[in-house]
Every structure is written in structure tokens, then in C-alpha cells.
């Protein structure tokens, strides 16, 4: 059953990622393809600080959050100058650049070799090495994440960011500083991605740049789109479906030689079908 627990943890971590990306993309309309970058920043912060500098888990997470916030804030300047298609492209370019930094800054990240031996979190002397405890920790974080974003989106703040998604000009003319809200949203989204990254680092105990490349960013975005833009519950559902789908395929008895391709083709098919049949996603109302 530890296998199911393992998957539950992966689903929960990706729920955090999908919810935070939904806040950025679904609520505010910033279709960023760089979410996995911030996820990676959190993972690397925890990996490097705990294995090489004797940090314990919580401070390392905090450093990761701060680092992600700073980088997201800086990156938001070029990225948010653009809209729609060009924003997607530049955020994608940003994630490629950051991926190459992870790959080439070998003194810090060990490059493609990755960092291994990342210890399980220990908070106030309690070790989260055992899977159920670790799951409880991640689960709690996901619940906090959910209520955090729910609170924002149900407040006047939520109305303003949705307004920004719909029409920047009208929102600005109604007295809201569009760019300031967008920056804040982008940065806060990145912070939560970093938290998810810290969990992944301790969970896998080994990280490499490949984990934070383009495909994970796309995968998270597909979760958001499938589940429904501007629906936090939808994001959880999206993560649930897309993480479990390949695992279900493992049991279908497909020859392994075609498994990976079939799985990817299903992702592609899901995207097309959602766009054709339910452009607002399973639980969403907003159509892109």
C-alpha cells in the first residue's frame, strides 16, 4: 500500500503546483510556462542547503520561498510587459534559460549529475521520514494552500485579478493598479511552487535539472486547463487525473515499449478533447 501512499503524495504535491498556477493563469490570466522553474528553485534551495550547508528543512524552505519570490519578481518585469501568445513564449524562454542555469552552474547545482541524499524533513525534532507522516505534512500544506487561495479569490482582491484577466484596460480605468496586482500574483504563485519543490526534493531524495524542464511546466498547465481555469478544486482534480493516468496504464498490461508514447498521446488527446468539448475544463467556468 505504500505505493498508493507514494502516489497520494505525488498527487498532493502536484495539487499544490496546479492550484498555485491556477491562481496565476486561471484567475489572473497570466499563462505562464515557467511554473516548473520556481518548483525547481524550491527543490534546489532545499537540496543544496540541507546537504551542503547543514540547514534543517524549514529554514531551507523559507530560503527557497524567498529566492523564488525574488526571481519571480524580477522575471515579472519582462514577462508581464507582454500578453497572450508572446507572454507564453517569453515565459517559456525564461524557463529554458533557468533550466540551463541549473544545468550549467555546476558548482552550485552539480549540473546534470543532480543532487542525491537529500534527507527527509525534520520539524521541531519530529522526523517525517515515514511515508504516512510525510503525507500528512504535504496534505496539510495542500489544505493550507487551498484555503489561502480560496480566501484571496473570494475577496475583493479576487474580483480585481479576475478583472485583470478579462480586460486590463477596463480594470485599470476602474482604479486598480494592474501591474502591481499581476506582479504580486506571479510572485505568490512562484512561492507556492517553491514549497512544492522543497517537498519533492526531500521526497525523491534525488533531484536533477530534467525534473524542472519544459514538460513539467506543460503538465501543470494541462492539469489547470483540464480541471478548469479559475477553479481550485478543478486543479486538484486535474492533478489527480493526470498523475494517476499513467499509473493506471501500468496495470493495463500494455507492452512497456509503447507505454510512454501511449501515455503522452493520451495527454495530447485530453488537451484536444477538452478544448473541443469543454473549453472551461471539468469544474471551471472560464474559457480560455
Amino acid at each position: 500500500m505504500e505505493y498508493i501512499l507514494h502516489l497520494a503524495i505525488v498527487v498532493t504535491i502536484f495539487s499544490i503546483l496546479a492550484m498555485s498556477l491556477n491562481y496565476v493563469a486561471g484567475y489572473t490570466g497570466i499563462l505562464s510556462l515557467s511554473h516548473a522553474t520556481f518548483y525547481g528553485i524550491g527543490a534546489y534551495a532545499t537540496a543544496i542547503l540541507t546537504t551542503q550547508h547543514g540547514f534543517s528543512f524549514v529554514p531551507s524552505v523559507m530560503v527557497g520561498m524567498v529566492l523564488a519570490a525574488v526571481i519571480a519578481y524580477l522575471a515579472s518585469f519582462p514577462i508581464l510587459k507582454l500578453k497572450e501568445d508572446s507572454l507564453v513564449l517569453v515565459s517559456f524562454g525564461f524557463s529554458i534559460i533557468m533550466f540551463n542555469v541549473m544545468l550549467n552552474w555546476t558548482d552550485l547545482t552539480k549540473g546534470p549529475l543532480g543532487i542525491k541524499g537529500i534527507a527527509a524533513p525534520e520539524i521541531f525534532g519530529l522526523s517525517f521520514f515515514s511515508k504516512p507522516l510525510f503525507f500528512a505534512l504535504v496534505f496539510l500544506t495542500a489544505i493550507v494552500t487551498y484555503f489561502f487561495f480560496r480566501r484571496i479569490t473570494k475577496s475583493p482582491y479576487g474580483i480585481i485579478i479576475k478583472g485583470i484577466r478579462e480586460n486590463r484596460t477596463v480594470t485599470a480605468v476602474n482604479g486598480h493598479n494592474v501591474l502591481r496586482y499581476q506582479r504580486s500574483v506571479f510572485t505568490v504563485g512562484a512561492i507556492f511552487a517553491a514549497i512544492a519543490g522543497s517537498f519533492t526534493a526531500t521526497f525523491l531524495a534525488f533531484i536533477e535539472p530534467k525534473l524542472f524542464e519544459l514538460m513539467p511546466s506543460v503538465l501543470i498547465l494541462i492539469m489547470v486547463i483540464l480541471g478548469g481555469m479559475a477553479s481550485l478544486k478543478g486543479s486538484v482534480l486535474g492533478a489527480f487525473i493526470l498523475i494517476l493516468l499513467p499509473e493506471v496504464l501500468r496495470f493495463l498490461g500494455l507492452p512497456p515499449s509503447i507505454l510512454a508514447e501511449v501515455q503522452q498521446m493520451i495527454y495530447g488527446l485530453v488537451l484536444i478533447l477538452v478544448m473541443y468539448l469543454r473549453p472551461q475544463g471539468l469544474l471551471g467556468e472560464y474559457k480560455i
Partner: protein
């Protein structure tokens, strides 16, 4: 100097890719991400004809490109058009296009495996021709010539024929084409055919240089998009210069920054253009604004 030559040759291929992409983009106004993978399919077909039937290289290339081009038309007719008729946003079309890209890419991988394959004209590797301190290979000469011929043919077609003029008109104004007595959908189908045909030929040129694998679909379309944006979307001449500039900058990047940063230079170039010169070098239409 050699770096410049390398850049221009790679850039020439990017330019071809960008021209085809531009042609399609200016008539449909969304990012046709399938563009690259259909070209890759064309390359695999070329290789298939080359190996299975042992036909001449150029004949195989044209066969492969023609089949790919028909597929390009099919994608327009059955994938995009129904959504366009529903007035879907360009983002929806881009997402659908991406989904289809993933599917086709993996289909190719299922059929032909994930490995990189090379295509070659001759059975031996010859040392290139040296002159003026630079080296250029036979393959590269073929690439340069093919690109040149294709560009000239396309220019003639766009400027001298009724269809060509209709294609140029459709980007600006759909009514114009009705005046010329042609249905918009027909024109778009032709655009998809020509655009895909060019991309498949350009793709085969890439394969001559650096081989082909399923993931090159995304790689090629990204290069086409970047080159188009640099050059100015909607402008053929812009796409050509954009492609050349991209090729040269990438190679200069490899030379001075090191091979590890190859992808980075392209995207920095893209970002700089989008931020400071969003209309590209030859603006016709500005994207998303």
C-alpha cells in the same frame, strides 16, 4: 569567419522554416505549433522512401514533402477549422495545436522509435571544400541552393499569380479574396499546403546536417516562431533575415558562451525583440496587442 558561415547555413534553414510558418500565421493568426512536427513527418517519409524504395534523394524529398503538405491541409480542415468556425480564441487553437503536436510526435516515435536518424546523399563522408579560410561541405551547398531556389519560386508565386496575390491579400483583409473570386477556405488550404511543403523541405535540409528525431518538431517550430518574430510576423523578407540572424547569433553564442548555452541565446534574442521591437525588423502586423 567559419562561425559566420555555420550561422548562415543553419540560419538559411531557419529562414525557410520561418517563411512557411509566416505564410500560415498571417492567414490564420494563431500559432500553428503542429507546423514543426508535420515537417518532421515529412522527413521520416523522405527517409522511408529513400531506404525502402531506394529512390533518388530529391524525388524522395518531394514525395515526403507532398504527403506532409496534404496532412497539413487535413489538419486545417478537420482540426482547426471547426474551432475557427466557432470563433475560438487563438489560445484555444494554440492549446489544441500543442495537444496534436504531442500526439503526432509520439505516433512517430511509436513507428520509427525515438532515436536520432541521419539522412545522407552520399555513402561516404567527404571533407568539405576549403577556400578563403572557410570550409563548406557538399551538403551545405545543396542546402544553400535549395533554399535559394525555393525562396525565388515562392516570391514569384506570391507576386505573379492570382492565387499568390489572394494569399497575400487574405492576411490583410478577407474581403479582398472574395473580390478576386476565390473562397477564403480554399486559399487557406493552399497556404497550408505550401507552408507545410516548404517546412518539410527545410526539415529535410536540417536532417542532412544534424539528423532527425521525433522531438525536433517542437525544436523546429520554435526556431520558426523566433525567427518570424525577430523578422516581423507577416513579412517574408523579415522571416528570411530573422532566420539568418537567429542562426548567426546562436553560433556566436556557442562560440563565446560555450555549447551549454545554445538554447539560451535564441530565447534571449526573442525576449529582447518582443520587449523592445515587438514588430520585428520588418513590421507588418504586431502580434498580440
Amino acid at each position: 569567419m567559419q562561425i559566420l558561415v555555420n550561422g548562415i547555413i543553419v540560419g538559411g534553414i531557419y529562414a525557410l522554416m520561418a517563411i512557411g510558418f509566416n505564410l500560415i500565421f498571417s492567414s490564420v493568426r494563431f500559432f500553428h505549433l503542429l507546423y514543426g512536427i508535420v515537417a518532421v513527418l515529412g522527413i521520416y517519409l523522405t527517409r522511408f522512401f529513400l531506404l525502402t524504395f531506394e529512390i533518388n534523394f530529391f524525388v524522395s524529398m518531394f514525395l515526403g514533402a507532398a504527403i506532409a503538405a496534404l496532412l497539413g491541409m487535413a489538419f486545417w480542415q478537420w482540426l482547426y477549422k471547426p474551432l475557427m468556425d466557432r470563433k475560438a480564441s487563438s489560445l484555444v487553437l494554440m492549446v489544441v495545436s500543442f495537444g496534436a503536436l504531442i500526439m503526432v510526435q509520439n505516433l512517430i516515435a511509436l513507428i520509427w522509435k525515438n532515436n536520432t536518424y541521419s539522412i545522407s546523399i552520399s555513402e561516404t563522408i567527404k571533407e568539405g571544400y576549403h577556400f578563403l579560410g572557410i570550409t563548406i561541405t557538399f551538403n551545405q551547398l545543396v542546402i544553400l541552393l535549395t533554399s535559394l531556389v525555393l525562396v525565388i519560386l515562392l516570391e514569384l508565386f506570391l507576386n505573379k499569380t492570382k492565387y499568390g496575390m489572394a494569399i497575400r491579400a487574405i492576411g490583410d483583409n478577407a474581403e479582398m479574396t472574395t473580390i478576386l473570386g476565390l473562397k477564403t477556405n480554399q486559399i487557406i488550404l493552399i497556404v497550408f499546403f505550401i507552408g507545410t511543403f516548404i517546412s518539410s523541405i527545410a526539415g529535410t535540409m536540417v536532417a542532412l546536417e544534424i539528423g532527425v528525431k521525433p522531438t525536433y518538431g517542437l525544436f523546429l517550430v520554435l526556431k520558426a516562431i523566433i525567427a518570424s518574430i525577430i523578422g516581423g510576423i507577416g513579412s517574408m523578407r523579415g522571416a528570411m533575415l530573422g532566420g539568418l540572424l537567429l542562426g548567426v547569433v546562436e553560433n556566436i553564442g556557442i562560440y563565446y558562451l560555450g555549447g551549454g548555452w545554445q538554447e539560451v541565446t535564441a530565447f534571449i534574442l526573442l525576449t529582447v525583440f518582443l520587449l523592445f521591437l515587438p514588430q520585428g525588423m520588418f513590421n507588418k502586423v504586431q502580434i498580440s496587442n
